[in-house]
Symmetry: C2
Subunit: 334 residues, 2 copies
Amino acid sequence: MSRALRAAYLGPEGTFTHQAVREWLALRAKGDDGGPGPIATGATAPGGPAGTAHPLATVADVHDAVSARATDVGVVAIESSVEGYVVPSLDALIGSPDVVAVDEVVLDVSFDAFVRPDHGELREVSAHPHGLAQCAGFVAASGLHPVPSSSNAAACRDAGPHTVALGPSLCGELYGLETHARAVEDFRGGRTRFLVLAPRDAAREHLGAARARGVSAWRTMLAVTPLRVGPGVLARITDMFARAGVNMSSLITRPLKARQGQYVFVITLDEAAWESGARTVLADLLAAGDSLKTLGVFPAPDLDVDGTLDPDHVPVGSVTADADSAEITRGLLW
Amino acid sequence: MSRALRAAYLGPEGTFTHQAVREWLALRAKGDDGGPGPIATGATAPGGPAGTAHPLATVADVHDAVSARATDVGVVAIESSVEGYVVPSLDALIGSPDVVAVDEVVLDVSFDAFVRPDHGELREVSAHPHGLAQCAGFVAASGLHPVPSSSNAAACRDAGPHTVALGPSLCGELYGLETHARAVEDFRGGRTRFLVLAPRDAAREHLGAARARGVSAWRTMLAVTPLRVGPGVLARITDMFARAGVNMSSLITRPLKARQGQYVFVITLDEAAWESGARTVLADLLAAGDSLKTLGVFPAPDLDVDGTLDPDHVPVGSVTADADSAEITRGLLW
């Protein structure tokens, strides 16, 4: 009997993060996903219990549990298609001395509406304020009184006989609720990306197992703190990527806590840190005097990132060189 | 008697955004701040009523009110030092055909704890879940039962006799509450930046008034949608800024809604769009075939962005070229 993997996550139970943990553990059980441990060796039956999920109260608690090896991995949300980066999770990773991301999980964010099997007249609809906002159309059409909750999961867990609670599909099973309506969010297609965190000194083991399983396309998330700031610093850094032919799929600037006007660049590049293009860039950055830290390496999604833009997708009000002069002036305010 | 300025904002009353509106209107009344209209001409007594603030329910409502000229300006939060960009506000600006930012307001985010003057035994502490999280130390030390609310302002407005409500200092005056404790947030120094939005066709009037008052240091927020994506695209763009000597104080990638793997770059540059370096860059980008849109031009904060980094401010776990080889390998995972 193999040891079950332990996965800590930012709770409470019944959140989208919990759902991400379950999906990751299920993939592990099927052997489709990476990491060390008995499951990757095939010692566990396909579809069998892959591990246990442990809710913790804060992102810092998840980091601490991973650092202390009280858990094998930790799972936190890192980016949403609607809200952008989850900055507290990002800042925790930037600031961590010994935790690194070794995998990711991407979930469609969809809310179901739940009621108790013994429910009476329905009068209230409850969710986290963000959940209520994301399902505003359903809430308005229901005519029910909106009641904020500390989390969608808490709304489901604590649902009374007069309450419709909104949350991930997981919550029905978890709290013994009936599904009243499915996919009640205003906009389909929202997705959240979660990182799977491990101790830095266990990263090679996780990534080696994924390589052994045949993962060959990677992304690396990197924090670059430039030696000097001012005009040209970002151009100097991005030039190194261009010369090495390494694509950046994301770049954001995060202010350094202690210094107004100074930044760390968080760059996601489309190679593993150990691949030749990435190694060239990392060596060039070091040679230039910058401070570097790999925040994570994980399998890349299957995306076509080369190609010409469809003009229909350009933000409305944008101008191009072939617009007339008045239109360009209006668009640019120059 | 001059016409009072109308400022729409993302409500409800008593939010930090409301406080930002009030500060902006007060600056207008003192003549310290920009924009067209009678106040900038000195027709209103210093400190006199500068205008009226109108809470609206959504960011889209604020945009609509500005577009339709039902209000002179609109105010929305755009960036927090803790949470990063307020992506729904950013996406609304990127997607707007006719609204642009013409000024900004920066507020220290500080929570006060309020009680009703006739309060009884205190049993509960109420705020938006984010407010409760930001004041977790105070909440824990109080021993009171945390109760989530749809907003901090709603917590203050609806405070019962057994409730301590957490919110901006404005809420005390607004809802007739007594201040129980000041600045109860866990971490000082959090700041939120708000944009003042105007119709694109009124932008020159606002900016011209600010120039007439002597504002000479500017920032421009720009959306660049590159003609082609793939390795090198960001280097090509940042090169143009470097060659023109224009500093970028922020850059983020935002996914284009319709196309996975394609991005719009949101860049804040340290010049007005009409200044010579910025004009050079904008013309170069147009010549390269990119689609451009100025999202805002506003007075720059007084920051020193040149200089060498203090090593104490580099994120822990970062490595530099002078680290030993094992340390570099551990930091980079290469």
